[in-house]
């Protein structure tokens, strides 16, 4: 019996009935990784023996008892490397657990491997990893999306049951769309970020990759909640997301923002998303057209605010307390300058420079302050839209997965890959991408469902209703 294509509830059923032991699950998954990961390169590090030991100790009566979960290489797991796919953290071993890791351990999960990513989560293709790019399980010549491309390819390629990722401008939803899995970005403040290496602190949020919506709901129940160690996490009760999934969409109002169906969107992507909207209509949802008039400014606002915050957050990588230090520095400035020059890749350098520039004297008002104000307008657009509807339906990405190397020479083209996901982070609301079809070349297409702040229950219910009526999530890539 091969368990690697099972969902977590199916796996849990096999574990609790005694049909399989946690150690065998780890072994089967490790075999799958050995088979397909030389092609996909989704994992940066995997200690199978450690996972076996954890599996032997797993309490299978717990909600994730004996279930292996892969972790994006930006979240600290005590005793494991956490390189953020950067040379500057080569050799770093995390001295503590992130809060989400503590929660996964408490739920009985078996931590399984570190997944590849764009360096410090900056990118949309995983090509910015210092350790080489991950491949898309549906076409090995294409990118898996990013920045959490390793997590997406691992789950999409059935070499992980589920994975944690992070989403600052679409880094969970976009790769999930491109690899045909479910990618959930919770509301800002829903999940503790303690132990997550910060990129842009007003935007970053930890979330999940799974094969199905039910599993996303299950994992969110476990990782969500207030944490005294992260003052941006909010003290609100965590609903039983798995309990409200099955209520259907009859009577719900689903908004379609006209600004998300623009010139430049791939016609096959638009068709698949329009068909999904029709499916919701068929199921009894009321479809309403809404407008988010400041949508066109979201990418520009993002690349000011995210880079400003990254230039401050990445100042900590200076060769003093952890990570790489340049050899034989002649003084402290030489040490900083060369450590950072040798340790960071090109995209990280570009963003630090841009962020430093928009915060610098004389430019601060024109760039940073103005971007913060336009950010308020973008949030206001969503607030008005959610007076007319319960959730929004949009494409996740304007195109299916592009070819490796296609956009690396032009950062601006790469930034536009996140045009439909960025506004959700700027507004601090929640979004999920679910599979909604394939192009004629058999590349996955994602449907994005956006909910208001703390709207995960309804959003996941909407996602589940479509998933249950369609076959896309059951398809397995030809690896």
């Amino acid at each position: 019996m091969d368990t690697t294509s099972l969902t977590i509830p199916e796996l849990r059923q096999k574990l609790s009935s005694g049909a399989i032991r946690p150690r065998e699950v780890v072994d089967q998954l490790a075999t799958r990784v050995a088979d397909v990961d030389p092609k996909l390169r989704a994992y940066l590090q995997l200690d199978v023996e450690k996972a076996r030991t954890a599996a032997d100790a797993a309490d299978i009566t717990k909600p994730l008892g004996g279930v292996p979960i892969a972790i994006k290489d930006v979240i600290n797991v005590q005793g494991d490397p956490c390189t953020c796919a950067s040379k500057i953290l080569d050799g770093y071993i995390a001295p503590y657990d992130a809060t989400v890791i503590t929660k996964l351990r408490e739920a009985g999960a078996v931590l399984f491997g570190r997944t590849n990513m764009d360096e410090f989560a900056m990118g949309s293709s995983t090509e910015n990893s210092s350790w080489g790019s991950t491949r898309n399980p549906w076409d090995l010549d294409r990118i898996p999306g990013g920045s959490s491309g390793g997590s997406a390819a691992a789950v999409g390629g059935h070499e992980a049951f589920a994975a944690l990722g992070t989403d600052t401008g679409g880094s969970i939803r976009q790769p999930a769309a491109l690899c045909s899995c479910v990618g959930l970005k919770p509301t800002y403040g829903r999940v503790s970020r303690y132990g997550l290496t910060a990129f842009a602190s007003s935007l970053d949020q930890i979330g999940t990759f799974t094969k199905t919506v039910e599993e996303a709901a299950l994992l969110l129940e476990i990782i969500a909640g207030h944490d005294p160690r992260d003052n941006t996490s909010i003290d609100r009760p965590v609903p039983k997301y798995t309990q409200s999934l099955h209520q259907g969409v009859k009577g719900l109002r689903l908004g379609v923002p006209k600004e998300y169906f623009i010139k430049g969107i791939d016609p096959e992507v638009e068709k698949a998303v329009r068909d999904a909207i029709d499916e919701y209509k068929k199921q009894g949802a009321e479809i309403v057209e809404v407008s988010l008039p400041h949508t066109q400014y979201a990418v520009a606002v993002y690349y000011i605010i995210a880079t400003a915050e990254c230039s401050a957050n990445l100042a900590r990588f200076d060769g003093v307390r952890y990570g790489k230090r340049a050899q034989n520095p002649k003084d402290i400035l030489d040490m900083y300058g060369r450590t950072r020059a040798e340790g960071f890749g090109a995209e990280v350098k570009r963003r630090i420079i841009l962020g430093t520039y928009v915060l610098s004297s004389g430019y601060y008002d024109a760039y940073y302050n103005r971007a913060q104000k336009v950010r308020q307008l973008i949030g206001g657009d969503f607030r008005l839209a959610f007076e007319k509807c319960d959730a929004l339906l949009t494409p996740t990405s304007p195109t299916a997965a592009f070819k490796i190397g296609e956009r690396t020479a032009d950062p601006l083209q790469m930034y536009l890959a996140d045009i439909f996901t960025i506004a959700v982070n700027l507004a601090g609301i929640c979004g999920v991408s679910i599979p909604c079809g394939f192009t004629t070349n058999k590349l996955p297409i994602g449907l994005q469902i956006i909910g208001p702040k703390w709207g995960e229950e309804t959003m996941l219910r909407v996602a589940h209703a479509y998933e249950q009526a369609t076959p896309w999530h059951k398809e397995k890539p030809p690896l």
């Binding site: 503590y96 400041h294 200076d318 990570g323 950072r340 020059a341 024109a366 950010r375 308020q376």
Partner: protein
């Protein structure tokens, strides 16, 4: 977007502020690429923000707690990834004469 994109930013100067030493090749490439990005973001100038406050209706409030000693990383673990250490301290090149 009329001004040449590479004039929008002095990459050498800004990289120095960011304590980032660039190669001559990087300076040329970044000058162009970041000029393009700044050209793109300059579209924000057309948005009327005269009525918008900087923080909007941010619903986050300060969270205060007592300044008490709580469990934290032991010194040896906090130093475990240090490139250079001595006597429970991080060691850096000499800064003052």
């Amino acid at each position: 977007m009329a001004e040449p994109s590479s004039d929008r930013i002095d990459v050498t100067y800004v990289a120095d502020l960011a304590r980032l030493r660039l190669s001559p090749e990087e300076i040329v490439v970044f000058q162009k690429q970041l000029g393009d990005v700044l050209g793109y973001v300059s579209q924000l100038a057309e948005v009327d923000v005269s009525h918008v406050s900087l923080l909007g209706d941010a619903d986050l409030k300060n969270r205060l707690r007592l300044d008490e000693v709580r469990p934290s990383l032991p010194v040896t673990e906090a130093l475990s990834n240090a490139p250079k250490q001595d006597n429970n301290l991080f060691v850096v090149p000499k800064m003052v004469e």
